[in-house]
Amino acid sequence: MIVAEELYKSFKRVGASRRKPAHEQRIVAVNSVSFKADDGCITGLLGPNGAGKSTTLRMLATLVKPETGTASIDGYDVSKHVLQVRQHLGFMPHNAGIYPRLTARENIQYYARLCGLNRKDSLQRSGELIEQLTMTKFADRRANGFSQGQKTKVALARALVHRPQTIMLDEPTNGLDVMATRGLRDIIRQLAADGHCILFSSHIMQEVAALCDHIAIISDGIVAIEGSLNEILGRTGQTDLEDAFVSATQALSKGDDE
């Protein structure tokens, strides 16, 4: 389970002149992000490029510290109980980031060992994941030259290797073809059915609409609206997610102007 409350994060603007006022020297990546993602649910973080999705996930994954606001994973505070959070969390970042000179199996085993599995268990666990994610064909090939879909599978397997309760995927369907996307969706649905909490970010409306039980729309670092698809449509008075998205973000910028 993920709970985020009023997360805020800014970065130093590279090349900013020092004479400018302090607030102009920083880029606010995440302004005010609050949402909840339940166990057994697929939660989608929907937002355009630069909305702050990746930054939010990085804060939840304890890779960067929120400046203000709090968040917890399965009850562990991301700023205070870093190691427990990481133990309960499987994170697949935007880029697969797998090691090209290791085979798919070795890539998975490496992470299994680092998560504390012994040699025998890590062998068994990576074998399991290779079956589960249908990677048998390329499991013992070096990752150099893997297709995008193959890379994503390896990265997903690595994120799942320590059986985390909560799983976060940053734009996992990026670069995948129709069949691979469908395969990934099935895997995600299965994981949710097994009781895992799944948070995934995307900028594709249809995908979020098709897959998610719960949606948080983020724009300019602010979560504009949160709820199930029907709730969001009802509250914005629209009939499809795209229109709901536009109206929610417009309401947000109007609120800014006043």
């Binding site: 990085r58 980031g97 797998i98 000179r101 680092l114």
Partner: protein, 388 residues
């Protein structure tokens, strides 16, 4: 434990990289010693003259100076007749040097006047110069003998003319050649250590950032310090392996090195090489730490190579500094990493005694600097900017 897992993975990963393996196991330990040692042997061979070795000398008008010819012969020089055209023969390199005895040589000798001799030499040709040096040396001795005879003939003690008697006393254990050789040893060791860890350090830090595999790695339940130390341990293994191989190849190479050429006691037996390796070994953790902390700052392998390329000047700096400035070992230079190892190794190869205090200072100074660098590397890995 996770340190060990990371170390093992990085070693396996990098052993599959041809570039890393080439530089760590072949370039530093084998090619560099061969290149440097080989050219050194060649240059010594060229410079040194073996007066015991019989050689031939072309002489024009041999009949004009029979005593001189006999003297040359007694100094291991077989006289042969000069070619018809002396000048062009020497210029073309057909003959190295030609000694021309002039027509009036005998007459001048009998008159007690300076007897003219011409030595044709090609100064552009090293072999010709070397041959001329040998002939000149022998002629000088001959001249000395003649002068002494002339003076004694007139009843004068020849030593009257020796107003100065300069005796050169070389106090170093070895001559200049040994010195050069002694400073090449630490150079080889340090270069091979740097080359050994260079690509692995870059690949495991900057390379990991570039491949974007650092982000998922750091989200695993282990501390970032553990991650850096694992990478550091892998670098140490490569540097250690590379320097051990270097010790082995130096030992093998200098087994075939003509020690007499260097004029005496410089020794490269197993004991000396082992001693040298032990003295230089504190640099293994030091250089690894240096490589890791510098490449931890960089974003890409290219940037890391640029920085570390500049850093390569450091192992060469003491080499040139000591060549030209002749800085002596002092208590101040001993705690300085690299410089102290250069000086200690020089002394070790030359057979000079090394004070225990110097060794202690060198080890403590180098390991202290290592600790600081490691602390720095760990700090660098805590930055959020690491993921940019």
């Amino acid at each position: 434990m996770s340190l060990f897992i990371i170390m093992l993975k990085e070693i396996v990963d990098n052993l599959r990289d041809r570039q890393t393996v080439f530089y760590a196991l072949l370039f530093g330990p084998v090619l560099l010693p061969l290149l440097l040692g080989g050219s050194l042997v060649a240059s010594f061979k060229q410079l040194s003259i073996d007066f015991d070795q019989v050689t031939t000398l072309s002489v024009a008008n041999t009949d004009k100076a029979p005593t001189l010819i006999e003297f040359l012969y007694s100094n291991n020089i077989d006289v042969i007749d000069a070619p018809a055209n002396i000048q062009s023969s020497v210029r073309n390199g057909e003959t190295l040097v030609v000694l021309e005895i002039t027509e009036d040589f005998g007459q001048a000798l009998r008159d007690g006047a300076p007897a003219p001799l011409t030595l044709h030499v090609n100064n552009a040709d090293k072999d010709s110069v070397k041959a001329a040096r040998r002939v000149n040396t022998i002629l000088n001795v001959y001249e000395q003998t003649l002068s002494n005879l002339r003076l004694q003939h007139r009843g004068i003690d020849p030593s009257v003319f020796d107003s100065l008697n300069v005796v050169e006393n070389d106090v170093s254990s070895e001559g200049a050649n040994g010195q050069l050789l002694a400073s090449i040893l630490p150079f080889l060791f340090i270069m091979s250590m740097v080359m050994g860890g260079f690509y692995l350090a870059i690949d495991t830090t900057a390379g990991e950032r570039e491949r974007q595999s650092l982000e998922p790695l750091l989200s695993l339940p282990l501390s970032r310090t553990m991650v850096v130390m694992g990478k550091y341990a892998a670098t140490v293994c490569f540097v250690l392996l590379s320097s051990l191989l270097t010790a082995l190849s130096i030992y093998t190479l200098f087994k075939f090195f003509p020690v007499e050429l260097m004029g005496g006691q410089v020794r490269f037996d197993g004991a000396t090489v082992t001693h040298a390796f032990l003295l230089v070994s504190p640099l293994i953790p030091f250089i690894s730490a240096l490589l890791i902390s510098v490449s931890a700052v960089t974003r890409s392998t290219k940037e890391a190579q640029t920085y570390l390329g500049l850093l390569m000047v450091i192992p060469m700096a003491p080499f040139f500094l000591l060549q030209f400035l002749n800085i002596r070992s002092t208590l101040v230079s001993m705690p300085l990493p690299m410089l102290s190892q250069y000086q200690l190794l020089e002394s070790a190869v030359l057979g000079d005694s090394i004070p225990t205090l110097h060794i202690i200072l060198s080890v403590v100074g180098t390991l202290g600097a290592t600790a600081i660098l490691l602390w720095l590397a760990a700090r660098l890995y805590q930055r959020e900017k690491l993921l940019d």
